[in-house]
Symmetry: none
DNA sequence: GTGGTCTAGACCACT
DNA sequence: GTGGTCTAGACCACC
């Protein structure tokens, strides 16, 4: 369910964090469900427990996970997930549009290219 | 023409590289034009010449710049720039759309959010 | 009468301790009254008897509870409770006011903020 | 300027974090000023560099500090500091008032005790 | 068994 | 020299 890509330039703790974050947002991990323990997941991925610990701490900070000392980490109740998903998508869009403009693409070109992307993706469904 | 943001998390050589890359793609720097020398640019930005050298090397690797030993760095001829710009933008779009779908956003939601982004960006102009 | 919040970061034994302490100080549990037995309370809250035992020990240390071996735990006689409550509150206040001054807040600001706090709390009643 | 109290139950990284946070909020450390390097501070306090690192990361997350890789940590520009100070004070007040009510103190008593505290503190000036 | 903290020591990227 | 990441191994509190 969780993989570490040693080719990926981003730090391992961040890969693990992002992966679990996605699993929670897609509800592959449901509210109240227990995450694998720090140690067991570390063993499974053959990495250091501290590295997993760090990923779990990030998830806790974002209130996606809550910790019960001595028992484990659990998926938190979070009704803002749909909002978060939209916000995340919007931010990324704005970023690439801004960069495209900086590259000298006109608003019209951008609009047209976006339209094409959406259509293509719909055709694939 | 080139600025370094010390608050930016990305390394300085990459900031310089990206900035010049943009200048070339927007044709603010035209084919055959000479780039500032490694030393003079380093002085101007008060950073280490090694850092500039590294940025120039990246540009050379991408064939956006060619070097004439003893004379300097020059903007290369590259007729594929407009195509590159579009292709790059399209690829990024497809990537974030695909990820959004994986997150469980519907095609309709995505379409709507994209429309909003474009509008907002136009309003900022 | 006693609840355990698994989301609360503080250890369970402390939650139980604080809760019973409050019940005694508010005289919801009166002098001489018997506390539930370690085992029965553990069963009721579905937690380990050791955890309850630890909470009771803290209460005993503070002389809020006394133990009769083989019979159970009882609320102690303690005529200083009202004084304790005021003293505790006053000490805390002084502490945060002193810290606020250290942060550079003026006496006037502090007075005003305190007034607001009191009002808001009264509105909630 | 920074001290670690081995008696204090709170983790070392948090003590360091809180201490520097206070220094910034009181402007003992001013905007743009450089913090001691991770390694040098670790040496000075005879603790592990990782522990300092962690404290600095917290400060960065709160945007009180920004990092320039390869150069060091610097106090960030943050115009929200006065607001933060008030908010922090208000939260603490609310907390102790709420707890006092839970203990059975009446609103009148609380008001009166607060008034006394403020007066005493003013007398000390 | 669980998570939380800390140390010691290493390697990397950046300046 | 700087910060950032990771490992290995330890100890503690809690359940």
């Amino acid at each position: 369910m969780i993989l570490v890509d040693s080719q990926d330039a981003s730090p391992i703790y961040e890969q693990v964090y992002r992966r679990i974050r996605t699993l929670i947002m897609t509800e592959a991990l449901k509210e109240g469900e227990q995450l694998p323990s720090v140690r067991s997941l570390a063993m499974e991925l053959s990495i250091n427990p501290n590295t997993i610990q760090r990923a779990y701490s990030l998830l806790e900070q974002e209130k996606l996970v809550y910790v019960v000392k001595g028992r484990g980490n659990f998926v938190a109740h979070n009704e803002e997930i749909p909002t978060m998903k939209r916000k995340q998508f919007t931010e990324r869009c704005q970023k690439i549009i801004r960069e495209a403009k900086q590259m000298g693409l006109t608003s019209e070109e951008i609009k047209e290219l976006l339209r094409q992307c959406v259509e293509e993706e719909n055709d694939r469904d």
